[in-house]
């Protein structure tokens, strides 16, 4: 993993922006020689954090931007998704906390800072993300 060491993107946190950010992130992973399945799962996890931003930032006056920052550190990939809103474990009544559960399943570690905005920090080990055998 030594091609594109750092990535920083930011967009207005709308559901439509989540898709383009996710694709850009996936391209970043591919550029860093992450295997297809690993990249898909890492992009999924990051996509969940982005979607969370869009869910609570969207419609909120003034808390509109979500930023993705990723860097390669030794053999780990550190990704931070940050916005100025409040991370909501369960945005809607009928939802469950699947987003966090999915991130936990893929990332080695997740930490969420909730002060003055939300910052989701995920650490991935692309070599160790063992995509489960499809059942």
């Amino acid at each position: 993993m030594n091609n594109v060491a750092e990535l920083r993107l930011s967009r207005v946190a709308r559901p439509s922006a989540v898709k383009s950010l996710r694709h850009a992130f996936l391209a970043f992973l591919t550029a860093n020689d992450v295997s297809e399945d690993c990249a898909a799962d890492i992009a999924t996890a990051v996509g969940e954090a982005l979607a969370n931003s869009a869910e609570h930032a969207y419609g909120n006056a003034g808390s509109g931007t979500v930023e993705v920052y990723a860097r390669v550190e030794r053999e780990s990939l550190i990704v931070e998704v940050a916005d100025a809103g409040v991370f909501v474990d369960r945005p809607r009544r009928e939802d469950r906390g699947f987003g966090l559960r999915i991130i936990k399943a893929v990332a080695r570690s997740v930490s969420i800072e909730r002060e003055g905005g939300t910052r989701v920090r995920m650490v991935f080990d692309p070599r160790f993300v063992q995509p489960l055998e499809a059942s």
């Binding site: 474990d89 369960r90 009544r93 009928e94 469950r96 906390g97 699947f98 966090l100 559960r101 936990k104 080695r108 570690s109 997740v110 930490s111 969420i112 800072e113 909730r114 002060e115 080990d125 160790f128 993300v129 063992q130």
Partner: protein, 492 residues
């Protein structure tokens, strides 16, 4: 502000006043001299004329009495000239002194060329010529005098004009200065009031922000206190004291208080030698998670008291969480001290770890959907036959999801558990926790519960409780010797 105003205006006024008074004084001094000069000028002219009249009179009627005007003027004239000269030099009117000199010179000439001969011989036949020559001189004198007077008048006018313009200038200056100062004062007052208004607004904003921050912080601290209290209350559940069963538990809340969530564990006597155990993780954090968790575990215990079958118990809890709209993972079941069985069911929870003395630790079957996801969800009860000395280790995902990957986390857990058992540690859960985490910070809540069948004939009673900071206070009372772990079962 008024002070500044005074400080600026007063000197200006004083200065202006001083200037004006100086000009006035000057002009007064001047006008005195001018007036005196003019008077002297007239007097000199009159004197000269008187001298002429006297001489003419004496020439016509050779009576000395007719010479009186001449004599009087003669006495007056020189003094007047020098006085006038003094004034003129004071006034410094260009050409004035020259005129006076000329007039005085003319007078001298007349005295010499006209008065003297006629006074000496009034009946001289040249009297007419002399008088004629005298007339020319007198005319010249008169001209000088008039010119001098004009100059004095002009000077007076000039002086007046200068005075007026000086006064005007000073007035203007004072007016401008005062206006400027007033303007300045107005601007400063305006600016200051604007500045004051801005400062005021900024101060109000800062106050409002500080208030809001304080409110937020207070709310956060209140929530944190409540969460801590709840965590305390939830964590401190005494474990059952049952002969032939050994319990230990450890609970470490996440290091970051904002991430304290909904982990719990419970062990409750059900009677007939059965003890319920449950351990779970309700999603979310903060007070809401703590409250949901408390209700969920209560629902679980209530259900177990009705029907101990783990699948049925989880079904009931699923129903509760469905309506609460929350998700949770859990493992629930009971240890049967009569049959030495572990009977359990899982709902989306990591696999329980079974430690059999002398055997390799085994991760048991798990599976099942998390609670609160699917209505009418069916869970699966599993049974495991154990032996005295066997220990079941339950944990939340925080215990295994901290390291490189789950497999490694599981491996660490297994290793820690086995080692703790081999070392006959009194408090298994604490030992496992310490071995996995050491002094490291805990990213996610961790709960560990162990349920063991007492080895052999020993009755060991263990009481363990934890405070919210995660330190473990435990005591053990051994009754009888503790057999070594090698006495049961075959070596692996």
């Amino acid at each position: 502000m008024p002070l500044v105003f005074l400080v600026l205006v007063v000197p200006i006024l004083l200065g202006g006043g001083h200037l004006v008074s100086r000009v006035l004084r000057e002009s007064f001094a001047n006008s005195d001299a001018r007036r005196a000069a003019r008077t002297l000028n007239f007097t000199l002219l009159k004197d000269q004329l008187d001298e002429e009249t006297g001489v003419r009179g004496f020439t016509s009627i050779a009576d000395p009495e007719f010479l009186d005007p001449y004599a009087a003027a003669r006495r007056d004239f020189p003094g007047k000239v020098s006085q006038l000269r003094g004034r003129l030099s004071l006034l410094a009117i260009p050409g004035a002194e020259a005129l006076l000199d000329d007039a005085a010179g003319v007078n001298g000439q007349w005295l010499a060329q006209v008065a003297a001969p006629l006074l000496a011989d009034p009946h001289t036949p040249e009297a007419r010529v002399v008088q004629f020559r005298g007339k020319a001189l007198i005319d010249r004198f008169r001209r000088d005098s008039e010119r001098l007077d004009s100059a004095l008048v002009a000077r007076e006018q000039g002086d007046n004009r200068r005075l007026q313009s000086a006064i005007d200038n000073v007035s203007t200056l004072v007016f401008v200065a005062v206006s400027f100062v007033v303007l300045l004062a107005a601007v400063a007052a305006g600016a200051q009031s604007r500045l004051t208004a801005r400062l005021e607004a900024a101060r109000r904003r800062a106050e409002a922000e500080a208030r809001a921050n304080l409110e937020l912080r207070t709310a956060f601290e209140t929530e944190k206190r409540i969460a801590d209290t709840l965590q305390d209350a939830f964590a401190q559940r005494p474990l059952p004291v049952v002969p032939t069963l050994v319990f230990s538990a450890a609970y470490i809340p996440a290091t970051d208080e904002t991430r304290v969530g909904g982990d719990w564990y419970d062990a409750v006597e059900l009677g007939k030698g059965r003890v319920l155990f449950s351990l779970g993780d309700v999603e979310g954090h903060g007070i809401e998670a703590a409250v949901n968790m408390s209700r969920a575990r209560q629902a679980l215990i209530s259900a177990a008291l009705i029907d101990a079958d783990p699948a049925a118990v989880l079904r009931r809890v699923n129903g509760y969480l469905q309506s609460a709209g929350r998700m949770a993972t859990a493992v629930a079941g009971y240890a049967d001290a009569v049959s030495y069985e572990f009977v359990y069911a899982t709902a989306g929870h990591p696999p329980p770890l079974l430690l059999l003395p002398g055997r390799r630790p085994a991760l048991l079957d798990c599976g099942g959907l998390p609670l609160g996801v699917l209505e009418d969800c069916v869970y699966r009860t599993r049974r495991v036959q154990a032996v005295p000395g066997a220990v079941l280790v339950l944990y939340t995902d925080g215990a295994v999801e901290h390291s490189r990957d789950v497999l490694e986390g599981e491996a660490l857990l297994v290793q820690a558990a086995r080692r703790a058992l081999e070392n006959n540690v009194t408090d298994l859960a604490a030992s496992i926790r310490t071995e996995i985490f050491g002094g490291r910070q805990v990213g996610d809540d961790v709960a560990i519960l162990t349920i063991g069948f007492a080895p052999g004939e020993t009755t060991r009673m263990t009481f363990a409780s934890n405070n919210a900071q995660g330190t473990v206070i435990s005591g053990a009372r051994g009754v009888g010797p503790v057999p070594s772990s090698g006495s049961l079962g075959a070596a692996a």
